[in-house]
């Protein structure tokens, strides 16, 4: 591991000023991804600014009925919070589906959004990787890509985003708040992750020197009836090979409102807007759900060894939406 300086920040302005003052600096939250990557040399910061003591560890209901989640709230506290479980059960389920109890107690919301891909070529520094070493190539395209992207990828990178939490946040139109030396700003999560294109090393639209301060979930009555389902190669403590966050509002047998996002299929959580358009106003029957999945997956470009994900996501969509509809009918 490269040697590094360490400082603790106690207020947001101080943290941002410290970052602005030195290159090669990273914020340290729970460290569950960053410290791991520093050990293997994928991340080589010259300095860490510890932000765990910033006053960003609260979850609050705003006057407008939105849920404001601080950036240093741990995944464990997020999933346990009564208002998260009541208003956005799929978000609690998504967080609980990720990592282990120990890691959830350490990992923070801001860090979860910024976690790096688990692509084996990215995490192994002896291998080429356009994300880690721009221009060095992507061995995954012709190599091991069973768990790589089927949507939105490019020849330059086919890695998937690993977060479960971000999939549910995407389905519910979360907004990311940040602070820079020039003041605060915000980005809809839909615009937070950049398209892969030929710059897979540029992952987010966060301005240079920005600190994520929190996430806001707008009020969404439909989200109270939501579910997150994760498919993985063992029953617990593994990354998804495909996942789904879904919410349905059905009245008189017709879908009035639908939210759908896929995980582990792209470089970012994948909002299934085409599927939502098919669902809205259509009869709440399995044929509709299949047509919705097909509308979204028409854009899928699977690689030779990950075509199974297209079927997996289609089946997952039909299964989970059918379950939600049956629950609503009870």
């Amino acid at each position: 591991m490269r040697e590094f300086g360490y400082q603790r920040a106690y207020d947001v302005a101080g943290a941002v000023a410290l970052l602005d003052a030195a290159p090669d600096t990273r914020f340290l939250g729970g460290g569950t991804n960053l410290v791991d990557l520093m050990k293997t040399g994928v991340e080589r910061p010259a300095r860490l600014i510890d932000i765990r003591e910033l006053p960003l560890d609260r979850i609050e209901v705003t006057a407008e009925g939105a849920l404001r989640i601080g950036a240093t709230v741990t995944n464990g506290d997020l999933a346990a919070h009564p208002e998260v479980r009541r208003r956005y059960p799929a978000l609690a389920q998504a967080v609980l589906a990720g990592a282990s109890g120990q890691l959830r107690n350490m990992a923070t919301v801001g860090g979860n959004l910024l976690q790096r891909t688990r692509c084996g070529y990215f995490t192994e520094v002896s291998q080429p990787c356009n994300k880690r070493a721009p221009g060095s190539g992507c061995p995954a395209v012709a190599g091991e890509h069973r768990n790589h992207a089927i949507l939105g990828a490019s020849d330059h990178c086919v890695a998937v985003h690993a977060s479960d939490m971000a999939v549910a946040l995407t389905a519910f139109d979360a907004v990311v708040h940040y602070e820079t030396a020039d003041g605060p700003g915000e980005l809809p999560l839909a615009d937070f992750y950049l398209p892969v294109g030929d710059t897979p090393h540029r992952e987010t639209a966060l301005p240079a020197g920005a600190l994520i301060t929190g996430v806001t979930l707008p009020p969404a009555p439909v989200a109270a009836h939501s579910r997150y389902r994760k498919v993985r190669e063992r029953a617990s403590y593994a990354f998804a090979i495909g996942s789904l966050a879904a919410a349905l509002d059905i009245r008189d047998g017709i879908v009035r409102d639908a939210r759908l996002a896929f995980g582990a299929v792209a470089s970012r959580p994948w909002r299934a807007s085409a599927a939502e358009r098919v669902l809205t106003g259509a009869p709440a029957v399995p044929e509709t759900y299949a047509a919705a999945a097909d509308a979204e997956l028409a854009a899928a470009r699977p690689l030779p060894r990950n075509g199974y994900k297209v079927d997996l996501i289609r089946n997952l969509t039909v299964t989970v939406l059918t379950e939600l509809a049956e629950e609503a009918a009870r």
Binding site: M1, F4, G31, R52, A92, L96, G101, N105, M106, Y237
Partner: protein, 194 residues
């Protein structure tokens, strides 16, 4: 300006303060084992994947291998050496002994610290990935064998002593809450999750 790459820190471990200089790269795990002779906490994978190094930070379970020692300053650290009450074993330790919740014992300190944290999380009403209904109005989930396996999935046991580990955790949880669940303690296990 070049920042120092080491610091003198004070760690509060099992109620006792320890002051030591550390290279910032030092993990809490290595500080405990290599610097402070607290070798009860074990190093398994050193990548946050096996749970052998589980300790309690401010009462919450965490893996010491991904925790930088310098960042643990100011926190209450509890290791396996600190969970007993003098000569009286912690109820989770006692249950592991009584029910043979181990074979070689290497993962056991991590299993026990993890179980202590997990039982408190459950008592606080936290749901898990196998909880049928996570909404607060559904009430706290009973701590079934399935719930225990899911909640303890961050602790691997290469000997495969899982059956007895689940029984031990169920018994300790029962002692903690005064009400346990039959199917967990009597092997109502449906399938191995871990």
């Amino acid at each position: 300006m070049a920042l120092s790459t080491s610091s003198v820190i004070t760690l509060k471990i099992n109620g006792e303060k320890h002051t030591l200089p550390v290279d910032h790269r030092t993990t809490l795990l290595d500080a405990l084992r290599e610097r402070l002779d607290l070798t009860g906490t074990k190093k398994g994978c050193d990548q946050g994947q096996c749970g052998a190094c589980t300790v309690l930070l401010d009462g919450r379970r965490a893996v010491a291998c991904l925790q930088l020692a310098v960042a643990a300053e100011g926190r209450e650290i509890t290791t396996i050496e600190g969970v007993a009450d003098g000569e009286r074993l912690h109820p989770v330790q006692q249950a592991f002994l009584d029910l043979d919740g181990f074979q070689c014992g290497y993962c056991t300190p991590g299993q026990i610290c993890s179980a202590i944290g997990m039982i408190q999380e459950h008592a606080a009403g936290w749901p898990s990935a196998v909880t049928e209904d996570v909404r607060p109005q559904a009430g706290p989930p009973p701590l079934t064998a399935d719930e225990i396996r899911e909640r303890m999935s961050g602790n691997l046991c290469r000997c495969g002593a899982y059956v007895a580990i689940v029984e031990a955790v169920a018994r300790a949880a029962e002692a903690h809450t005064g009400e346990g669940h039959e199917d967990a303690a009597t092997g109502g296990a449906k399938e191995a999750v871990i």
